[in-house]
């Protein structure tokens, strides 16, 4: 009984003395976070005490040449939502974009929610409280191939490579989680902040947007880096570091080449409409992972399938995650198999440089399948200036890869991420509407 007594009692003075007694020397060993907690903890926390975050006020600029949420560092929580557009005519469509613009500008900035007569339903779900915190939120709006059908006269200005996703050989697409007129990607520090934003949009556009499907995902937080330590990527649900060989998202030149449709792309031969400049193609794939089976696969086979070392994320011929594999030295695939995921995805030849894509995935976990297996996988999202040279080419090279035995793509779609909103006179989708208004007139 003594034992349980001491467990239930508030931190014993003895124990506290030990913690505090670490003193300056102890703190250096234990690291700053431990001492921070030890000093702050005047009393042990109650069971329902809220976890703390200093980042709820973090916010991303809404205005800019590009939308945020693409080269923005990926936060913990992501959510992809696809919608059917219910607008009946162009006037409705413009109202949709303008309302979206207004909601996104507010949600990404935060601030108090206007209060109304308590006899009315409140204007906001209230799940972030009376003052909305931006919490590092980005909201990224993209349009699907079906928006360019005969409803709104957008057809003549459709981005050249935008198309309806077609199943690849290993796919088992479920109609309920594919395609859509519009996609919205929500990313922030917490799932609740994304849900808050989604509910705000659903509530404010009931006659214009209908949710078609939604997939949430997460990125596991990594321990803070020690001084001098290179950054390490988060792991996916197969236990491998994911993101290692992504192109440098801080390098504007690289991003201009790989991710953003460039001004002047409307020149003959390229054929992107002028309005699409500074937009990007978004490929979304909901890829189920057969994790039970994966966990029953020998480590060396797992590593051979990816072409990377599981613990460090290093390529087979490297020491650290950042090392670059040298396939020229390994033409027969003795070190990195020729059909390894990373070697097929990026053979690193001069010709395949144009197929690089910017990946920004989240891990998802949805529940349990009928057979008792866990329903989880990767919410794969990537961006590229050319959908065909990017995702479609890379996925085509991956067709038949050994990893497929552990994967089943079940949903997703292709979208075109609209150019950014440059200032408060602009609104999301404005350039698309303006361009199509011109073609409608001249036609």
């Amino acid at each position: 009984m003594k034992d349980s007594d001491s467990k239930n009692a508030p931190i014993s003075t003895d124990r506290r003395r030990v913690l505090l007694g670490l003193g300056a020397a102890g703190a250096a060993v234990a690291g700053a976070s431990l001492t921070g907690n030890a000093f702050a903890a005047t009393a042990p926390a109650q069971v329902t005490e809220a976890p703390k975050s200093e980042k709820t006020q973090d916010h991303n600029a809404f205005h800019g040449p590009h939308q945020s949420g693409i080269v923005t560092p990926r936060p913990t929580a992501g959510m992809m939502v696809s919608f059917d557009v219910l607008a009946q005519d162009r006037e409705d469509l413009e109202r949709m974009f303008r309302t979206l613009n207004e909601r996104i500008a507010f949600l990404m900035t935060g601030g108090p929610v206007p209060q109304v007569d308590p006899k009315l339903p409140p204007l906001d779900s209230g799940i972030l409280g009376p003052v909305v915190t931006p919490d590092n939120l980005t909201i990224t709006v993209s349009v699907g191939d079906s928006l360019f059908d005969d409803r709104f006269g957008l057809e003549p200005v459709k981005p050249k490579r935008l198309q309806r996703m077609v199943g690849f050989p290993n796919d088992a697409l479920e109609a309920d989680c594919c395609h859509g007129d519009l996609s919205i990607q929500f990313c922030s520090n917490a799932q609740d902040s994304n849900i808050h934003a989604l509910r705000d949009i659903v509530k404010n556009l009931p006659d214009l947007l209908l949710v078609r499907w939604k997939q949430e995902g997460t990125v596991p937080a990594q321990a803070p880096l020690k001084p001098g330590q290179p950054p390490e990527s988060a792991r996916n649900f197969l236990g491998f570091r994911d993101g290692s060989a992504n192109p440098d998202s801080n390098n504007q030149k690289t991003m201009n080449e790989l991710v953003w449709v460039q001004p002047g792309s409307d020149e003959p031969g390229n054929g992107e409409p002028a309005w699409a400049a500074n937009g990007s193609y978004q490929a979304v794939r909901i890829i189920r992972n057969f994790v039970e089976r994966w966990d029953r696969t020998p480590l060396q086979e797992q590593q051979a399938i990816f072409g990377r070392v599981k613990t460090t994320g290093a390529p087979m011929d490297g020491r650290t995650e950042a090392d670059v594999p040298d396939y020229a030295k390994d033409p027969e695939g003795k070190v990195t198999k020729l059909d390894a995921h990373i070697r097929l995805a990026n053979p690193r030849t001069a010709q395949t440089q144009r197929n690089l894509i910017l990946r920004r995935p989240f891990n998802y976990s949805n529940g349990v399948n009928k057979n008792g297996q866990l329903d989880m996988g990767l919410l794969f999202i990537c961006y590229q200036a050319d959908l065909e040279k990017g995702f479609i080419t890379v996925q085509t090279r991956l067709n038949g890869e050994p990893l497929e035995e552990y994967l089943k793509p079940v949903g997703g779609g292709y979208f075109f991420t609209l150019p950014g909103v440059v200032d408060s006179n602009d609104f999301i989708g404005r350039s698309l509407l303006a361009a199509s208004a011109q073609t409608t007139k001249t036609a």
Binding site: L86, K119, D207
Partner: protein
């Protein structure tokens, strides 16, 4: 979840006192529409009882064709007064619960009522052994009729019913989940929408005093829904099965339905009701 009728009556008593204590917007104004609504509900529950009699007679006679034909029309009056019927949650469960309201699905002992019979008629294609369910449904409907006669309608429930009916459409009718064996969802759809529109009509003068644009917008959306439903009317005055409703029309219905649910959720507040 299930409340006894006594508990419900007590609840009404409490709601009524709190209402009279709240005198902000002359509840006197609401007396006429509320009593008109009671007349509407009473008429509908009388129709429901008479129709249920015929429907259950057909089942007990083993007349499958007639029973199938009467199924959707019998339900219509129930669906149009659902906000009031749902006040008696025990009866709502035994009259109108669906297979997926029960952990054991169709085999559940307490799966009774319209949808249990629907399952037999449309999925099993038979009236065999359905006598007990037919008797139970008729008894439940008669019980509902007498309970409705005995209660005072709380104004906030009446007004709130307009939105509740549209929530019902948004949640179960748009998806075709309500009548999964017979696919006669459009009848229920129509019942819910008419029931909601009736409430708006009754309170229109009061609503227009405070917000003319609101009434105009709501009426426009009701008209849109009606127009789409009308496309699926059959010659005999009924409706096509839900699988015939084009994807495009399902989507076109979602916009006005969700907007009505959103807008009508403000109706209580706009009338100053708690």
């Amino acid at each position: 979840m299930k409340k006894s009728p006594l508990a419900l009556l007590l609840t009404f008593g409490v709601l009524q006192t709190s209402l009279s204590a709240f005198a902000a917007t002359a509840p006197l104004d609401l007396v006429t529409p509320v009593s008109d609504y009671k007349i509407y509900v009473t008429e509908n529950v009388d129709t429901l009882a008479a129709d249920t009699q015929k429907f259950t007679d057909a089942i007990k006679k083993g007349d499958l064709a007639t029973a199938k034909k009467l199924f959707p029309t019998t339900r219509l009056s129930y669906e149009s007064i659902e906000p009031i019927a749902e006040l008696f949650s025990d009866l709502d469960a035994s009259i109108d619960s669906r297979e997926d309201d029960h952990e054991d699905g169709v085999k559940a002992d307490d799966f009774t009522g319209f949808h249990r019979l629907e399952y037999a008629l449309f999925s099993q294609n038979s009236t065999r052994d359905q006598g007990v369910f037919a008797d139970k449904l008729l008894a439940d409907v008669k019980e509902l009729q007498s309970r409705i006669a005995g209660i005072t309608f709380p104004p906030e429930k009446v007004v709130g019913g307009a939105a509740a009916l549209m929530e019902e459409v948004a949640a179960t009718k748009l998806s075709g989940e309500e009548d999964r064996y017979s696919h006669t969802d459009l009848y229920d759809f129509k019942g819910n929408v008419d029931g909601s529109k009736k409430i708006v009509d009754l309170f229109k003068p009061q609503l227009e005093q405070s917000d003319k644009a609101f009434v105009a917008k709501v009426e426009k959306n009701f008209a849109t829904v009606d127009k789409i439903l009308a496309k699926y009317k059959t010659k005999d005055g009924g409706y096509e099965t839900y699988d015939k409703v084009k994807e495009q029309d399902r989507k076109a219905l979602a916009g006005p339905v969700n907007t009505l649910a959103e807008d009508l959720s403000q109706m209580r507040g706009k009338l100053g009701l708690n």
